[in-house]
Symmetry: D2
Subunit: 434 residues, 4 copies
């Protein structure tokens, strides 16, 4: 996570001030529950809420932490400066991890909410471009080699379907980490009633963790970050598609260049797909964070603290980078310059050869033996390939072909509509009957 | 995947014979649909099913493949040897990937079914041991250091809850890959009716892939293998727990040693937790396979074939290894030798010191100032720590402590029941009201 | 590692028979040293060598292992069947790991030797193609967009230099693992003289491990497998280059297609770069194996056995796959079909525009202001870009340009030799004065 | 990289001001070479050096970059504000990557220099503690289970040998990235003389990159970051060792606790190995960065820019985190509190049983049959294991044992010196004859 690849909305989640705000809310809600249970005085719970609108002094808390070498104690000390003597009732029966783990999950769910919003914007852009180019025919490529026609809208529809799956995964990943633990030193509720956890969970928009062991189990977080890694991989797929389409020899689409943007009009072809290249790199990073998250699962016994340094880094790194990448990708898709003419030109690069399979099939259906059909198609195909001839013209001029197929029949085999006839079916599958 | 860490039930899924059998079913069901649509003669579809009980000759197919350098064509050629001339209607309008990708997903869903069954067995073992030791008190450890009491049943309950989450993830991962594509060269259904795909999908227990591009999109498989990686990480967690408990100085639990097993009765302490160490290594492998699966997502355009070599390896490697690991872990849990006496001895290693926090709290509640309470507890704690004294005895002998707490009150603070009073609550959360 | 991507020379290293052969040699050499030190009778050492030419019965050893559940003991039991009663002197003072770890390192160094040989063949192929196409000009591309001219030979020279670095890394990686440990139960030589280790090391072509702890430290192996991962990444780079060059719209080079190979002459453009795509996937696998190798380093105390299952898999998997990939890549390079005409055509796609920078520079050097120079180049460049005009013709027809540059001077700026004048310098750097 | 886990010396390398300083030096040295070659006026080169002591205004450069959207151009524009009109001679014939890639390698070599210094400090600490505890006997453990005696010094010597290998690897990794490229748009030196590169390389302490393609090939950086990953894994090993030794039941060593440090003297056993746990987490992060570095190798053609975002993150992240980790580990080792008494107590946990193997051997050497010897040792061992008897006493009291071994002979088998007799040999291997 570096400023260059960060958006303030997401980084704000990870700022100390936000963290302390969440800590405060956890502690204050816990006090409410404790007061209701009669464990602490109602007046104490009320006193805590006096700090509701305080902007905690991060520098001051850091200063205390340097002394006491404990972040939660430092915060509580600072909090006491506002709450007064009743601050001694705060945090009763709780362990630091109750605050830290619940806070992390609040942060992750908030981050997930932003990512889901990002995803919605991306989906909207993909859908718009999909319908815009539903019938814009271009060559489909397998292995980077021309295969058969598709439409540019289909490419967008594929990306839409994939990103919609990613949105579902993200929602599931959010659910994974939306838990709260207020269970004390080793998770036994020895010093705190489980009802406190229930109250805090509800107040913070979380579910109680069924069984915590001082910490919330890290398989939840591993799944969360692994999911981000999968989403990043899909971003890489779409970014790679655009990079390919923008290649000089292909140029079927291009990242938008603002008029003011430093490009070279002395070399007008030199417009580089730098945004999607950048996305490719960012995807590598988000993917990499999945691994330490998985290694974090096997904590020793009830907990060790090895996960903490990892999460202090990948918590912000993975969510901020993915947020930035999703928003950047949305911008790329939204403004992507599409060149239908170039698509048509590329499609016809081999002057009709793309239809050779249909001609072959038509010949056999007319009763020509498979061997003969193949020989006929092949000899005309080679003229196209070697001499740049026009495939349809050659077929029409070939007596043996003509013996089986009329001009009209030959022409019909060159109809692109044949390839696009099920586009609506696919669109209905992807977008519903919208 | 190596024989040493494989179970035949799972490896069978990945054997050539199984693959050819699935290919046959896909082709035969497709013929049924094509016949129903009038694209091919009904007799042709019926002819194909003549090969229903054939054991395809793997060596023969390999031989053909060496010649034609194409695995699906080799298979179809071999199939024709049984079906006869009507074999020419087989595979019409389809592309090899239709067969290959649908087959892979059949294999992965079958593998997932075995893994889910494995998980059920593991869950049953964990549940049994959890209830067996619901009240077996042992020390909880954070950072490897004694903290406060838990029960061994709670450890098992935690593992159960984690593995149940993993089961849910596995079911979701199975759903991810349970799709079928019969959509032709670039996924446009140009040469085949989408209803064929629907028919085959249903017959094979899959859903149609909404939009395929010759291939089924690989984000599905990335999610599948990432999920296996998370499950492996949970296996590592439980394995690590057992390895720790079996350490010479701890010895609270031990992998079962069969009487005949080569151990050293001249060194009876030398029983190594080799199964759980082995599981730790296997977990590393399953986790590692998640990465190439994620890198597979960004195929070029409608498809390239870089994913294929990866999947030929990790398909079997990840599922076979995880299957073996789950079964092994189930065996370990099932037969795990638990030593409650050692747990009790370890718990009391510091002769009552584990209760110091409760005594501290009790003193303050009796009106002793926080500073004085701390001083009182500390001076008695240090006698335990430095001279091996008994904490309760020292407290009872300390006039200042006695001024605040009666013998009975002191003794009450040493009640382990205080720590286990919510075990039933937690069990109800994890196991329901069973 | 699967048969499809394996070569017998490399897989042989990992076969049980080879392993037992190496075990035998380690034990026999150890006996020699023990006899020389007077620890065991000379006759015992001699007796052991009687088994020198024995083909150990793998099935028999497996059978014994199933009974005793210990692989080394099973082997020694089988060995005794050939050696007779003096077999009791074998393995004295040694621990199983002495045999296992030393054997693994023998296998890895042998594997490295094959890989180095593979690399030499690849380097030879790259060098030959580099010189063959030293002056074959083609467009250099940054971001997939045309930049300035390079030569195809330079591409090969770059790959050569990169692979030569990889060869050096491989030699270093081999050195990393070329160590031997015969140091007993916890590496203290309590029951065996260090001179035995020195003798065995020398006999097996290894160095003594300075300090082992039952096991040879796994940082060595981590470095070994990480190095294979880097080499795999370079393979991916070269494979990706070829995949790009073979794209339909580019077609500057192509994997060799044997005349008999199943291609489609009805679609002669449909020659897919399947070998290099395959290499891309294999690279992902080799890279993935680096991770568990790194996780293997942190064994507990003097050793645990978690690394063992990992190594049983990645030992063969990584070396066999990389061996196969290197040989496949060598074949691809060796037979790569290069299309200089297509290179020339692509280079001139924008009819001279590639020289715009040089014209710009020439104008400023003639005293035209930077702003004016840019304007002049730009207005002619846009005619090329928008109307497909010829850049040189436009320049010659532009009075303002002609005021500064003569026809000859303009023509000189279009000399490709300008770009290739330092190719020999670079070749000398890469290949020396050969 | 976050402030909490950063040291200023290393972060300084990655600050914008440092980057601009290095860019300046590269440009200025290039001007010198250009002037010497007569390409630009000598006065221009001299003029550039006027900016030698300028503190470039990072905010101003950022402002310009926001406008021109190009970092190097922004810098050059700012530079011109100091140099004046002769600034137009700066950067001539160069491409941005010449500056960026050479700068990155300067930063990485400087980072490596700090890491090497860190490593030297760590090695010194390990050596000191190794000699201090050369003869401090403790139990060696395999699988976490007591095996045979080692010394604490041996553990340190092992770590020293491993870290010394890591130091060698680090030096090699530094060499990997110590190259410079000043080769122009696609690396052909079309617009710049190779002698400029040679001059700049020398001036910046680098070697010329033999063949660059606008960019310096990324296999170098992959190797660099993979090496950091291996080093991190060794850090994890040593950290894990200490975490194990500090476990409550083991307590053979402990991280230093400053008297002022917030610990609990009411629970004096609750001193957590938080530093080494933290190191375990940091190791996971450094290891994770190796992967995107490897994925960066396969850039498209002469270059794409996908590596850039990765390196902007892992450049600082990996080096800053590893630097912090090495320094932290050095502090841990330096001040590690070692408890020889606890080591002795743990060693004798089974009251002499650790010597059972030697007794067994002694009996056979006295002519007792192997079966009988085993039976004798076993029946006495079981008394120790089951009833807590003293092994030596039991042996002395066993008539059958006494028939073969005298008291003195039995006692001799319990001599720990037997196990430590080769410690000096091992130390000589590791530390030389120092």
């Amino acid at each position: 996570m570096i400023p260059r690849y960060s958006r303030p909305e997401m980084t704000a989640i990870w700022e100390p001030a936000t963290r302390f705000r969440i800590w405060f809310e956890i502690e204050a809600h816990a006090c409410d529950a404790q007061a209701q249970l009669g464990v602490i005085p109602k007046s104490a719970a009320e006193a805590v809420w006096k700090a509701k609108d305080v902007d905690f002094d991060v520098a001051r808390i850091d200063e205390i932490e340097r002394e006491v070498k404990h972040d939660v104690i430092a915060f509580l000390t600072h909090l006491a400066e506002f709450v007064g003597p009743e601050a001694r009732f705060v945090h009763q029966g709780m362990t630091s991890s109750d605050v830290l783990d619940t806070c992390l999950n609040v942060q992750l769910t908030r981050a997930a909410d932003i990512l889901i919003k990002d995803m919605d914007a991306l989906l909207a852009a993909l859908k718009r471009r999909a319908f815009e180019h539903k019938d814009t025919v271009c060559i489909g490529r397998s292995h980077g080699i021309h295969a058969e026609p598709v439409t540019f809208g289909l490419k967008m529809a594929q990306a839409y379907a994939e990103m919609e799956r990613n949105r579902d995964r993200l929602v599931a990943a959010r659910t994974e980490v939306a838990t709260c633990a207020i269970s004390g030193a080793v998770g036994t509720f020895a010093n705190i009633d489980p009802r406190v956890e229930e109250h805090v969970a509800k107040a913070m928009g979380l579910r109680p963790e069924p069984v915590s062991t001082q910490v919330i189990p890290r398989d939840r977080h591993a799944m969360f970050f692994a999911t981000l890694g999968v989403i990043a991989s899909s971003i890489e797929r779409l970014a790679t598609e655009i990079r390919h389409l923008q290649r000089t020899e292909v140029l079927e689409a291009e990242e938008y260049f603002s008029p003011g943007q430093k490009g070279s009009s002395a070399m007008p072809h030199k417009r580089n797909p730098v945004l999607t290249e950048n996305l490719t790199g960012l995807a590598r990073m988000v993917r990499a964070y999945a691994l330490p998250a998985m290694e974090n699962v096997a904590l020793w016994h009830e907990r060790d603290i090895s996960h903490s340094s990892v999460e202090r880094m990948i918590g912000p790194d993975a969510t901020v980078t993915l947020d930035f990448a999703l928003v950047r990708l949305t911008g790329v898709i939204d403004k992507l310059v599409v060149y239908p003419d170039n698509m048509a030109r590329n499609l016809d690069k081999f002057r009709g050869l793309v239809h050779s399979q249909r001609v072959l099939l038509a010949l056999t259906q007319k009763g020509v033996s498979r061997e003969d059909s193949y020989r006929l198609v092949q000899r005309n195909a080679m003229k196209v390939w070697e001499q740049g001839a026009d495939f349809m013209a050659e077929l029409k001029a070939d007596p043996e072909v003509r013996a089986a197929l009329s001009d009209a029949e030959i022409e019909e085999k060159f109809d692109l509509g044949y390839h696009t006839k099920h586009v609506d079916t696919i669109f209905a599958r992807v977008f519903g009957d919208s």
